[in-house]
């Protein structure tokens, strides 16, 4: 598809001017913005920005939740040939400095007082930043900062300019080429500094269209935009595909109302990382435990039936008439109401990606009649590399390469991708670009995996994280930390896990408990606790986690390649790993190197065979202040199992 995002906007506004483009819930009511109204808003903003001095090729920083006017600002920038750079709205102020300085950013459009305060805090370190516009004026009435103004002012100025120069907007849009840079996304990387991934209209639109064709998306679809706009996945689902297909994107009222808004909208096309699905299942199970006995019995019977026949039914396999009747009855009584209460009544396609999803979890949703599938991709590939077809969704693969994608696996097991959606470059970082893009146009994903006989791609781990055990009884065995961590995280009680073992004689792990699930478990056993730190060290909780670890070990023992990755010792951390402390990336991926440095004393204790160790850690609060959390952590030994050959 050879076009640009602003041109797509103009096409939709011309073809279906009254159709809804965006909805935002404000004051309890869903306010709709039609395509023609959106076009008008974008034109005003573009004219305003042009008047303010935004040049072709410059960058515009956009920070905030999903809001129609922020989306309009991105389109307005693109109309002028400028490049929107969305940043994570929950980042600390200091994290904004590098992107702004690196790209000499002159203007920023932000959502509210929180973001304005953060930018003002670092303004001294960003000399190129001259203007900041804000969407929500609450709390900003008395601010007198040079260059700070409400977005309304920009819209007004732009409207005035547009009425006296009616052809300016069209003219600017016509100047853009599909190969021009459309947006820049920062991948926070599990190691090192953030890198700006540069994408053109072509790369994003191509992949968006390929994905849309794969799942037969149309202008009748409804999507809920609730993930951070700085993440490319959110941009693809709610911006690129939105403009390609012309469907409706709904912006929730606030972060706390997302689940309620999900139920109200009933999206047809949905994406969430595995932890959201896990969280939903946990909350369902917790509520079921408090339900009346007859409801519990009904739920258990129906879920057992679903587990047996549900997946087969979703995959289109033939079922006996008795099974079909049973499922229909279960649907009436349990599955349909349950889908409704989760907000999934109208979901045609639901995707998950980013981490491995537990097989039980995957089967749970599919057997309920929710078409949950996995996909594979990254910021550098404009997301869509592999997708699972509707009838071939399995928990242990990430799908088949879709149109336009070529996949190759090197001898060392690394996956290479060639597709029209690859990044143009890392912004102003030729060295890093050369590291990942080969001269023949292959992108080195950095993931280790293989293609199975059915043509599906299977991911083992990040290539550079795959290590070897040195010494001990498993000398030379393969150690895949993510693989082990994911297996642990399949248990609802484990929120996060970090496994260590490369170059060591055995595998040890840090575990974070899930407060909601373990808290509920503790309450059911009349175990009193005061805080997360307190709950995490209670002996029954440690037993519970040990149970999970040993189950994982038993499972690993059956895999001859990875049996050496069994966990010998572990401890439960007294505080959750947090992106604000640098332990996780903004997309909640574990930063292994950073964690092993920060908690070096705990690692030492684990491998030295100590039974407990006192630790004090500095934590960073959301407003940038720091505090200290201390605890005496107990270290637990777990049983490992001898390798058993698994039947082929």
């Amino acid at each position: 598809m050879q076009t640009t995002f602003p041109r797509l906007l103009l096409e939709h506004a011309a073809a279906r001017p009254a159709a809804p483009a965006l909805r935002e819930k404000e004051f309890g009511i869903w306010q709709t913005l039609s395509w023609s109204a959106l076009r008008g808003l974008v034109e005003s903003l573009a004219c305003g920005l042009a008047q303010a001095g935004l040049q072709r090729g410059q960058h515009l920083v956009v920070i905030g939740e999903n809001r129609p006017r922020l989306y309009a600002s991105m389109l307005a920038a693109q109309s002028l040939g400028a490049i929107p750079v969305p940043l994570y709205q929950d980042a600390a102020a200091g994290e904004f400095v590098f992107p702004i300085v690196n790209a000499d950013v002159p203007f920023a459009v932000v959502e509210d007082q929180e973001q304005v305060d953060k930018l003002l805090e670092v303004r001294g370190r960003c000399p190129t930043l001259t203007r900041i516009w804000f969407d929500d004026p609450r709390g900003l009435r008395n601010y007198r900062e040079p260059g700070l103004a409400p977005l309304d002012e920009l819209v007004e100025a732009g409207r005035a300019f547009a009425s006296s120069n009616p052809d300016f907007f069209r003219g600017e849009v016509a100047k853009a080429q599909p190969g021009d840079v459309a947006a820049m996304f920062f991948t926070s990387g599990t190691t090192g500094n953030a890198k700006g991934v540069v994408h053109s209209h072509e790369t994003l639109i191509d992949r968006a269209a390929a994905g849309a064709r794969f799942d037969k998306l149309s202008c009748d679809d409804e999507v809920l935009a609730y993930l951070p706009p700085a993440w490319i996945g959110q941009n693809i689902f709610s911006y690129a595909q939105w403009l390609v297909c012309g469907y409706v994107v709904n912006c929730p009222e606030s972060a706390s109302t997302v689940m309620l808004d999900l139920k109200e909208i009933g999206p047809t096309y949905y994406f969430a990382p595995p932890r959201v699905f896990e969280g939903l299942l946990t909350s369902v199970m917790i509520r079921m435990e408090d339900a009346a006995p007859i409801k519990r019995w009904l739920f258990d019977r129906c879920m057992a039936h679903a587990r047996r026949v549900g997946s087969a039914r979703m995959d289109g396999k033939p079922l006996s008439w008795l099974d079909r009747l049973g499922w229909a009855l279960g649907n009436l009584l349990i599955y349909s109401p349950l889908r409704n209460s989760l907000g999934f009544s109208r979901v045609r396609v639901a995707y998950t990606a980013g981490e491995a999803i537990g097989p039980d979890l995957f089967i749970f949703y599919r057997s309920l009649g929710i078409n949950l599938k996995q996909l594979y991709g990254s910021t550098e590939t404009a997301v869509f590399v592999c997708l699972q077809p509707d009838h071939e969704a399995r928990s242990d693969t990430v799908g088949v390469p879709i149109e336009g994608v070529e996949i190759r696996v090197t001898e060392s097991g690394e996956i290479l991708v060639r597709s029209p959606g690859l990044l143009k470059e890392y912004y102003r970082d030729a060295a890093a670009t050369a590291e990942v893009l080969t001269p023949e146009g292959w992108y080195k994903t950095g993931d280790a995996g293989f293609l199975d006989p059915a043509g599906h791609l299977k991911i083992i781990d990040r290539a550079k994280d795959v290590g070897r055990i040195v010494g001990g009884e498993n000398d030379g065995a393969l150690f895949a930390p993510r693989y082990v961590e994911n297996k642990l995280k399949f248990f609802p009680y484990v929120k996060e896990a970090v496994a260590f073992g490369d170059g060591r004689d055995r595998v040890c792990a840090f575990v974070n408990i899930d407060m909601e699930a373990v808290g509920n478990w503790a309450e059911k056993r009349n175990l009193a606790y005061s805080s997360y730190a307190d709950l995490s060290q209670k002996p029954p909780v440690l037993e519970l986690i040990r149970d999970c670890v040993e189950k994982v070990n038993a499972d690993l023992a059956g895999d001859d390649k990875l049996a050496g990755s069994q966990i010998s010792r572990f401890l439960v951390l007294h505080k959750e790993l947090d992106a604000d402390d640098g332990e996780l990336t903004r997309t909640r991926k574990v930063r292994r190197g950073f964690i092993s440095d920060r908690y070096a004393s705990l690692l030492e204790a684990l491998y030295a065979g100590e039974s407990h160790r006192y630790v004090e850690t500095e934590v960073k609060f959301e407003d940038g202040r720091t505090g200290r959390v201390a605890a005496d952590l107990k270290i637990v030994d777990a049983k490992t199992f001898p390798v058993t050959r698994r039947a082929a």
């Binding site: 404000e26 004051f27 309890g28 009511i29 609450r138 709390g139 009435r141 008395n142 009222e253 606030s254 706390s256 109302t257 309620l260």
Partner: protein
């Protein structure tokens, strides 16, 4: 959204006899205006118990005035007198220069004075939305029959009032609890709903009876922020009864100190803190 037309220009510093230069400058910067509520020689007794004896103080427009004192000092009684719930035996209360002999609560409310309650007099079975709508009672002009049939004028009025209430819900950041029965909500949030109901009246003077009672540090910080926001955005004058000294010192412009029904201190927080009478009666001394 502005519930009350706040004065945009800071008025000239009011003549305050004997006040130091710094205090005058602060008053000017805060946009604090003329006296809006004046209490003169109020005495209230319940049989032999003298709850209040000759209390006089004033409250200026846009300021945050705190009333503090040990338990039983008569603070809630004072607020109830201003509110019209109790009729004092002696003394008068003037609102914007108009003095009243006897006021009932409805008249006081109609004059733009709203209050919250220490014990949260909310309708526990009703949703947050309905509770705050109840605060719009005085602004509704349609009668019972029109509302029962909800046709025409009543429908339009309902929509207009709903818009205002949604604005308040947005302001207090309780959108997620809009339809939740108040009884199911945590205590801190219930207090927010109480505040919302008082704000629904678009008051010019807001009487807060121990808004921080029973809250932990985080909740107190939230509530302080909302009180400051109300004062800042809507220009509402606030009279606040509070026990937490740090809150009083941080939030208020001026403080009245009561002890056993008598006024023992009146001035800025800094002045009151160093008043030996106040220290002896309330803040405590080493013996």
């Amino acid at each position: 959204m502005s519930l009350v037309a706040a004065s945009t220009a800071a008025p000239a510093a009011p003549a305050v006899e004997g006040a130091p230069e710094a205090a005058v400058a602060t008053l000017a910067r805060r946009g604090i205006g003329e006296v809006v509520l004046e209490v003169k020689d109020i005495s209230l007794a319940f049989g032999g118990v003298k709850a209040l004896t000759d209390i006089s103080f004033d409250v200026r427009e846009h300021e945050i005035r705190a009333i503090i004192g040990p338990n039983g000092a008569g603070k809630s009684s004072m607020l109830n007198c201003i509110n019209g719930v109790y009729q004092p035996q002696k003394g008068s209360i003037s609102l914007r220069g108009r003095t009243f002999a006897h006021m009932n609560p409805r008249q006081v409310a109609e004059m733009g004075v709203a209050r919250t309650f220490q014990s949260l007099a909310l309708f526990k079975g009703m949703s947050v939305l309905d509770n705050i709508m109840a605060g719009r009672n005085l602004k509704m002009k349609t009668n019972l029959f029109q509302q029962a049939i909800r046709w025409g004028a009543a429908e339009r009025e309902e929509t207009a009032n709903r818009r205002v209430v949604e604005g308040i819900i947005d302001f207090l950041e309780i959108q997620a609890y809009r339809k939740t029965p108040v009884g199911k909500m945590p205590y801190g949030l219930q207090k927010r709903v109480d505040l919302g109901r008082a704000l629904a009246m678009e008051p010019q003077v807001l009487l807060l009876d121990e808004p921080m009672a029973g809250m932990n540090v985080e909740e107190k910080q939230d509530m302080s922020r909302f009180i400051l926001d109300v004062n800042d955005e809507f220009g509402t004058t606030i009279v606040l009864i509070e026990h937490d000294m740090s809150v009083v010192m941080d939030l208020s412009d001026r403080v009245v100190v009561l002890d056993y029904g008598k006024k023992i201190g009146d001035g800025t927080p800094a002045e009151v803190r160093h008043n030996p009478e106040v220290i002896r009666a309330y803040l405590g001394t080493a013996h």
